[in-house]
Symmetry: C2
Subunit: 196 residues, 2 copies
DNA sequence: TTGCCCCTGGCACCGGGTGTCACTAACGTC
DNA sequence: GACGTTAGTGACACCCGGTGCCAGGGGCAA
């Protein structure tokens, strides 16, 4: 999905995405209409929908690549490693962003986790992530992705990861990697903090 | 929210809800337009939106009452009981439906968990549940609802409960209570099934 | 009867999303 | 240089979910 440098299509898409992100952050997702984004990006309303299937999709960047990377990370894990640990490690690693990319990520996640329409939409995107994780766990445990444990691991780890993102957003100075590690650990170990 | 018997408003609302549920199940959520539901219920399109704020809301019944009941159950838990256990128990109890209500619940949940638009919408409804659970955990642990553990417990238990519902839907003959118990336990105990 | 209130339907409108068509700027071919 | 092809674009009409507004109509009390 990432295009060669100088590619007009990818350039335009990036420009539209930037315009959308800026406007959404500035005025709120619901308050911005497609015509605003299109105008800011110098294209027509119709063309906007050629780059993004929905208004919400303009916020997600190349999330498909992200999911594909997670899938690869999971496939490459050491079979000797405990399944749950492998999933947690992959979650941490796939979210190991370069310092320079963090501000953009923060802007994206801030929108996704606070704007109701985007929060709802996120469920559809995360379904892919769940599928990938459940398939991995099923492979490792000799069951099917529809079995309890694969489904549960996928749902729980995603819940923990989302919580980690919320904590990261709330604390400007914190490290996303640390937050993910801490949150996934707390859950995977059965909430040691709460034990008497 | 439940109205006195003979109440015309509550009767109409129930009739619209039934019509919506039937049509959605029969033809699929996206394939049914509001005019179809309105016609089937003998009202106008405009009136539909006086009973339900959105198309999706017609599927949820009196979910607000449900959340309120969960809140009460959590408030009434024994302070000596471990926090996580109290949340799991409350989740199980609030979903302890009468035998006669199970078919309707199954129809609702089938729609919510399989129709993309409804799955997305569910995130907004569940936000209330998360808030209630996080507040409970915060109270019990002397922190705030925005702290890591309250948020994480809310997110994880909901993930587990959702998984339990999926398993229940997939197995026609199973018990929802048993599924919830099993799934919440598996997660709360740190996934004993996966331990070497 | 009159006035009030609530429920209702009709209508116009907004905004996200789609299908269709016509235009234009590349580009290679003869 | 004329030609057909192709991809990207904009304009337009349309669908559908959702809302604001106003006009009726039935019950009910004074």
């Amino acid at each position: 999905m990432t295009d060669a440098p100088g590619d007009a299509w990818g350039d335009t898409r990036a420009r539209v995405e930037q315009a959308a992100l800026d406007l959404f952050t500035l005025k709120g997702f619901e308050q911005v209409i497609i015509d605003d984004v299109a105008a800011a990006a110098g294209i027509s309303r119709r063309t906007f929908f050629r780059y993004f299937a929905t208004k919400a999709d303009a916020v997600w960047g190349d999330f498909g690549t992200h999911v594909a990377r997670l899938e690869r990370l999971l496939a490459d894990t050491d079979p000797a490693e405990p399944v749950l640990a492998s999933v947690c490690a992959a979650y941490v690693e796939v979210n190991d962003y370069a310092e320079a990319d963090l501000p953009l990520l923060r802007e994206r996640m801030q929108l996704i986790l606070t704007e109701p329409a985007l929060l709802a939409h996120s469920q559809l995107r995360y379904a892919d992530v769940d599928r990938v994780v459940a398939e991995h766990v099923a492979r490792r445990t000799g069951t099917t992705p529809a079995a309890l444990v694969p489904r549960l691991v996928a749902a729980s780890t995603r819940a923990a990861a989302t919580t980690a993102f919320q904590m990261w957003l709330a604390d400007e100075g914190s490290s996303l990697t640390v937050q993910l590690h801490q949150t996934l650990d707390e859950m995977a170990r059965g909430f040691p903090t709460l034990r008497p």
